[in-house]
């Protein structure tokens, strides 16, 4: 159930949403499309689902040519950011929709709906209407509805984007567990790098309609292909010509050969982590990420002069 996207181009008027994009999604994998808004990630997903027609290029799902086919012929499950719940139907009717369209036997539909309600932990809410559910419950219903028809691939468009931070984290972990159980080939669109790194086997970083890098979460963080990827997947300081992550900087109270002098401008306590914001004589600002213990040991104070030394830095040619 792989997805092969080759040389896809999509324009909206003068705006190029996708510029010659090619991606392969392996059978059973969970791939994240990560990028800022307007990077083309949602457009790519909608093209795979058939909700948008590309101007050029081809799409195959499990070795079957899908270009130009209508969404209902593609066998995909799609989950929308704003749930797209059928408001006039109960939860169980929403989930049963795809099966009823396929004219599945009543008993089979009932059994499958019960199974899915259990899977998404919505037992007992079967007779409710979407308006009586919380956002997280609505999205789990959306997932159950998409999974009901045993889709060849599952496509999720910013599925947790409209939820609050705590529910988002819960659902993220739950989605990963679900994927480990079902092994449905899944593509998730997100602008949240943490979400992409936590959930996906492989992350496709997109920017202005192009793919910047395709890599696993660890490789993406440790060996970003370029400046855009480096700064998109985590905070970064630019020190001269080099890029340094805030946690790859060491602070010393005494100078030593390779250090840079700077003044402590602000100390931000984030629980265990502490972010120290520094400013140099020439006005260049950068941040260092320390632990609470480091800060206590160094007895850091606002206005203090300290010396920073990168322990790992990246230079792009």
């Amino acid at each position: 159930m792989s997805i092969v996207v080759s040389r896809l181009t999509k324009r909206f008027g003068d705006f190029v949403a996708l510029d010659d994009v090619s991606v392969d999604v392996a059978t059973g994998s969970l791939v994240a499309l990560l990028g800022p808004s307007g990077s083309g990630k949602s457009t790519l997903l909608r093209c795979i689902a058939g909700l948008e027609q590309p101007d050029e290029g081809a799409i195959q799902i499990s070795d079957e040519e899908m270009t130009g086919r209508r969404p209902q012929e593609r066998g995909v499950g799609f989950v929308f950011q704003h749930y797209a719940a059928f408001k006039h139907m109960t939860v169980e009717k929403n989930i049963a929709f795809g099966l009823e369209i396929r004219k599945a036997p009543k008993a089979e539909i009932r059994a499958r709906v019960a199974e899915l309600l259990a899977l998404v932990q919505l037992e007992g809410l079967a007779k409710r209407y979407p308006s009586q559910l919380s956002g997280g419950q609505r999205q789990r219903m959306g997932l159950a509805r998409a999974l009901a028809v045993d889709p060849k691939v599952l496509l999720l468009d910013e599925p947790f984007g409209a939820l609050d931070a705590r529910v988002r984290k819960e659902l993220r972990a739950w989605l990963r567990r679900l994927h480990d159980e079902t092994h449905t080939t899944t593509v998730i669109v997100t602008h949240d790098q943490e979400e992409a790194m936590e959930v996906a086997d492989e992350v496709v970083v997109m920017n202005s309609g192009r793919i910047e890098q395709v890599a696993g979460p660890r490789e993406l963080y440790e060996r970003p292909a370029n400046e855009f990827v480096m700064s998109f997947v985590g905070p970064v300081n630019r020190l001269g010509g080099a890029f340094v992550r805030p946690h790859d900087l060491e602070l010393l109270v005494e100078p030593n050969g390779a250090t840079r002098e700077a003044q402590v401008e602000r100390i931000v306590h984030l629980g265990f982590e502490v972010r120290v914001e520094l400013v140099r004589d020439d006005g260049e600002r950068f941040a260092v990420q320390l632990t609470r213990d480091d800060v206590e040991r160094l007895e850091l104070e606002r206005g203090q002069i300290v010396y920073a030394r990168p322990t790992r830095e990246t230079v792009f040619p």
Binding site: A49, G50, L51, R70, P71, Q72, R74, V76, G77, F78, F80, H82, A84, A85, F86, K87, H88, F97, G98, I101, R102, G142, R145, A146, A148, V149
Partner: protein, 259 residues
């Protein structure tokens, strides 16, 4: 706050009373001034009965036609971003702006004797012409009610249905139609009311042949012209009664949350 509300209420209710309730009330009062028997008598003359059935026949053709066209047209305007959708959207309002008499005259020009279009059956001074005129004047209501609702519900539910395997027709029947049903129902009520009450356009194309092409509204006017005031009042009351019945039916079926 409270003191400001009372004058506003007096003005609003006073306006309604002066413009709506008093004239309609007058008609009812004058109708039943001498009891129910004379009313029944003037409503059961062959002319009155024929006019009643003719009005119902025209309405029964025009309302379904405009409902189907109205929903199709609203979907085309909102969902299919075709060139000229804006113009179509504006043209739909034309019957509201155009005087019904002009509509009647244009139909006469088109289908009348020496008209531009020659059909094997008679259009003008017969049922087809009257139906056409009624459809024309009552065309905008369903479109106008459905367009904003379609815009509000958005395309996502329809997209979801299509990814779940639903054909365009299944999506329309199971997802779009249930979502717009109250807009359609309200549009149907307004269309029905307009069809029942239409006078100008129908009057021009009907030729006003008593017992043949006389609708209820024309019958009211004819009776009045012939100094049959009681007959005019009785028919007016019948018209108002049908209109009120339609509105009451509508509010009975309307769900509470759609207030």
């Amino acid at each position: 706050m409270r003191s400001a509300r009372i004058p506003l209420r007096v003005v609003a209710l006073g306006y309604l009373a002066a413009i709506l309730l008093v004239p309609v009330g007058m008609v009812f009062w004058r109708t039943f001034e001498h009891g129910v028997a004379p009313v029944w008598e003037s409503l059961t003359t062959p002319e009155a009965k024929h006019a009643f059935w003719l009005t119902l026949t025209i309405t029964a053709i025009a309302v379904p036609a405009n409902t189907i066209f109205g929903v199709a047209c609203a979907i085309a305007i909102v969902r299919h971003r075709f060139r000229g959708a804006g113009i179509v959207n504006a043209i739909v309002d034309l019957p509201l702006a155009l005087s019904p008499v002009v509509v009647g005259l244009s139909l006469l020009l088109l289908y009348g004797r020496d008209g531009w279009v020659d059909l094997p059956f008679q259009v003008v001074f017969a049922l087809p012409g009257m139906v056409l005129a009624t459809i024309f004047v009552s065309l905008p209501f369903v479109v106008r009610e459905v367009v904003p609702i379609l815009r509000e519900i958005g395309e996502e539910q329809e997209h979801a249905a299509s990814t779940l395997g639903a054909s365009s027709w299944a999506t329309f029947r199971r997802v779009t139609l249930p979502a717009i049903r109250w807009g359609v129902a309200y549009g149907v009520v307004l269309t029905t009311a307009r069809c029942l009450g239409e006078f100008g356009a129908v009057s021009v194309v009907s030729g006003r042949v008593v017992g043949q092409t006389e609708t209820l509204t024309i019958h009211v006017e004819q009776s009045f012209q012939n100094f049959d005031v009681a007959g005019a009042y009785a028919a007016s009351t019948l018209l108002a009664g049908i209109a009120i019945a339609t509105l009451v039916l509508m509010s009975l079926f309307k769900p509470k949350e759609h207030a």
